[in-house]
C-alpha cells in the first residue's frame, strides 16, 4: 500500500478516526492490529519475519537483563541472527553473483529470494539491532512483546523509516495522550506537503531522470549529463523527504513524535555537515552503532580510522541496495569525509593561515562531490556511471536531447531548494502568529484552503505516479 495511494489515505483516515474514538486502553492493541493489517496488505506471508524479530528481541533482552555478564554474548548472537536474515532475504542474489564459484552454500541462500523481500527489512533490522545494544548498555529496560511488535510493525514508519529507536518510541506507545487539535493540523500539514513534494517535484523530475538513466539510453551530452545528475539529486531528495514527511505526519495524527530525516541537505558546507542533514535517522544509527564502536578502537591512529570510515560508508552504500553501484556511492562519500578531515587537521595545525575562502571552496566541492556520487547510485551499471562522469568532467560534448521545459523545471526546483530554509522560516513564523490553540481564522479558513490547493496539485500531477525510491531499499 503506497503512501501516495487513495487506498492508503482512506486507511489513514479510518485508522486515525477509530484511534481517537476508542478508549485509551485499547489504542495500543488497535495500533498493533492496524499496523499488522497495513503490513499484511503488502506481504501477508512475510509479516512473520518482523514478528519473529520481535520475538527474538523479547527473548534476548530478557537474557541480557537477567545475566548482564553474558550480555555481550546475547547481543552478538542477536546481531548475528538479524544480519543473517537481512543477508538471506536481501543480499543472497548479490552474494551468489559475486561468490558463486567459491561458496556453494550461497546457492541455498538464494532459495529465500523466491519468497520476496519482507517490507522494510533494512529498516526494522537496524531498529532491532539498536534495541539489543541499548538494552545491553542499560539505556532501556525490558519491553513487552506487544510493544516490541508495535515497534517493529509501526505502520507510519515501517516501509522506509525514519529509523526509530525503542528508547524514544516505546515510552510513547502507552497512547495515553488526550486528543489535541494540533495533532491533526500538524499531521495534515506534513502529509499534504509530502504528497505535493512527491507528485509535483519528485515525479516530474523522475520522468527525465528515468529516460536519461535507462539502460538503452545513449550516453548524454555534457549539458544533459549535468542536467540528469542535478535532476536526480533533487528527485531523490524530494521523494525521500516527501515519504519522511508523510510518515512523520501519520505518526503525528496519533500524537506520536518520530525523528526528522532531513534538514535542507544541499545547504551543507562540508561533507560531514551533509551527513548531519541527509537521512538523519540513518546517519545517527551508523554513527552510534557502527562507526563509533569500530573506530573507537583506533581513535588515536589516523590511517586505520580513515580506512574504517571509508569501509563503513561502503557498507552504508550496500545497505541501500545489493549492487556495486551503491557501494561506489558510499565509498565516494567516505573518501569525501576523509579528505575533509585531513584538510581540517592540516588547517588546524596552521591556524590563522587559512582564510574564509577554503570554506566556500568546500561548499562547492561538497555539492559537486554529492552530485557526482548520485550518478552511480542511479545508474544501472558502473560502466554507465563512468560514461556519465566522463561527459561531466572530462570530455565536453555539446548539444542536448532535452527541451527547455526540463532545464527550466530543474532550475526552478534548484531555486526552491535555495530558498527552502527562508520559506520554512516564514511559514513557521506565520504559524506561530496564528497560534496553535483555540479557533482562529487561520484554522477555519487558511488551512482548509491550503489543504484543498495541495490536494488539487497532488491530483493534477498524479499522471506520473511512481513508487517511492527508498521503499525499494
Amino acid at each position: 500500500m503506497r503512501f501516495d495511494s487513495s487506498l492508503y489515505l482512506i486507511f489513514l483516515a479510518v485508522a486515525v478516526t477509530v484511534f481517537w474514538l476508542i478508549p485509551a486502553r485499547l489504542r495500543c492493541i488497535f495500533v498493533l492490529v492496524a499496523s499488522a493489517a497495513f503490513y499484511a496488505a503488502s506481504s501477508l506471508f512475510l509479516i512473520s519475519v518482523p514478528i519473529a524479530v520481535a520475538g527474538l528481541l523479547y527473548l534476548f533482552s530478557r537474557k541480557i537483563v537477567a545475566v548482564p555478564d553474558n550480555g555481550k554474548f546475547w547481543v552478538r548472537m542477536g546481531i548475528g541472527i538479524l544480519v543473517a536474515q537481512l543477508l538471506m532475504f536481501k543480499y543472497s542474489g548479490f552474494l551468489l553473483q559475486n561468490v558463486e564459484q567459491v561458496v556453494t552454500a550461497a546457492r541455498h541462500l538464494n532459495r529465500c529470494e523466491k519468497f520476496g523481500v519482507p517490507l522494510g527489512i533494512s529498516f526494522f533490522t537496524f531498529e532491532a539491532i539498536s534495541y539489543l545494544v541499548d538494552v545491553r548498555q542499560k539505556r532501556i529496560g525490558r519491553v513487552s512483546f506487544i510493544d516490541l511488535c508495535i515497534f517493529m510493525l509501526f505502520w507510519p514508519s515501517v516501509v522506509a523509516g525514519p529509523i526509530l529507536r525503542a528508547r524514544e518510541i516505546v515510552p510513547q506507545l502507552r497512547f495515553r495522550t488526550n486528543f489535541e487539535a494540533h495533532f491533526i493540523f500538524g499531521g495534515l500539514d506534513r502529509i499534504i506537503w509530502g504528497l505535493v513534494q512527491k507528485n509535483v517535484l519528485a515525479n516530474t523530475l523522475g520522468v527525465w531522470v528515468d529516460r536519461g538513466f535507462s539502460a538503452r539510453a545513449m550516453t548524454p551530452s555534457t549539458f544533459d549529463s549535468w542536467l540528469l545528475a542535478v535532476a536526480f539529486a533533487l528527485q531523490i531528495y524530494f521523494d525521500f523527504a516527501a515519504y519522511s514527511s508523510i510518515a512523520i505526519g501519520a505518526a503525528r495524527l496519533l500524537g506520536i513524535t518520530i525523528p526528522e530525516n532531513f534538514r535542507q541537505p544541499y545547504h551543507a558546507a562540508t561533507p560531514a555537515e551533509f551527513w548531519s542533514r541527509w537521512h538523519m535517522s540513518l546517519s545517527r544509527w551508523i554513527r552510534d552503532y557502527l562507526f563509533f564502536p569500530i573506530s573507537a578502537r583506533y581513535k588515536s591512529a589516523a590511517l586505520p580510522l580513515y580506512l574504517s570510515l571509508i569501509g563503513v560508508m561502503g557498507l552504508v552504500g550496500l545497505w541501500h541496495g545489493a549492487g556495486w553501484t551503491f557501494v561506489v556511492w558510499g565509498l565516494i562519500h567516505g573518501i569525501l569525509l576523509v579528505l575533509y578531515r585531513v584538510y581540517g587537521t592540516v588547517a588546524q595545525s596552521q591556524a590563522g593561515s587559512f582564510t574564509k575562502a577554503p570554506r566556500e571552496v568546500w561548499r562547492v566541492l561538497t555539492l559537486v562531490g554529492v552530485l557526482a556520487a548520485w550518478v552511480p547510485f542511479r545508474a544501472s551499471t558502473l560502466a554507465k556511471a563512468f560514461s556519465f562522469w566522463s561527459r561531466m568532467f572530462m570530455h565536453f560534448v555539446a548539444g542536448t536531447s532535452y527541451g527547455m521545459t526540463a532545464y527550466v523545471f530543474t532550475a526552478a526546483a534548484v531555486l526552491f531548494c535555495i530558498i527552502e530554509p527562508w520559506l520554512a522560516g516564514k511559514f513557521s513564523a506565520a504559524d506561530m502568529k496564528l497560534g496553535t490553540h483555540g479557533l482562529n481564522w487561520g484554522r477555519i479558513v487558511l488551512r482548509p484552503v491550503a489543504y484543498c490547493l495541495g490536494l488539487l496539485l497532488f491530483m493534477i500531477f498524479d499522471q506520473q505516479s511512481a513508487q517511492f525510491i527508498y521503499s525499494k531499499f
Binding site: 545491553r136 548498555q137 542499560k138 539505556r139 560531514a272 555537515e273 548531519s276 554513527r287 552510534d288 562507526f291 563509533f292 564502536p293 573506530s295 573507537a296 581513535k299 588515536s300 580510522l305 570510515l309 569525509l337 578531515r341 588546524q348 591556524a351
Partner: protein
C-alpha cells in the same frame, strides 16, 4: 585514582574548546547540535584521556554520552567506577 568532578569538568571544557576552537558554554549541545562530528568525538575522548591520564573504555558508550560538559563528567565518572 579518578580526579574529582572539577578537574574532570575542566579537562572536558579544555578538550571541547580546543576542538570547536572557542570556549564552550555549559549548556551547549556538542554532538546533537553538530558542533562536534563523529570523527571529532573520538578526538575529544583522546584529549580527555590525555588530560586526565585515564583510559575511557568505549564499549558501552555512544557519542551522545559526550553531548555536553555535565554529561561528559557523568560519563567519565560512570566508566571509571565500572572499571574499578
Amino acid at each position: 585514582m579518578l580526579p574529582n568532578r572539577n578537574i574532570i569538568r575542566n579537562a572536558a571544557f579544555e578538550a571541547a574548546s580546543e576542538i570547536v576552537r572557542q570556549p564552550v558554554k555549559d549548556d551547549v549541545r556538542l554532538i546533537s547540535s553538530g558542533m562536534i562530528d563523529s570523527l571529532s568525538v573520538l578526538r575529544l575522548i583522546t584529549l580527555i584521556e590525555k588530560k586526565l591520564n585515564v583510559t575511557i573504555p568505549t564499549e558501552t558508550l555512544q557519542p551522545e554520552d559526550f553531548d555536553d560538559l555535565d554529561l561528559i563528567v557523568e560519563t567519565v565518572e560512570r566508566v571509571a567506577k565500572a572499571g574499578s
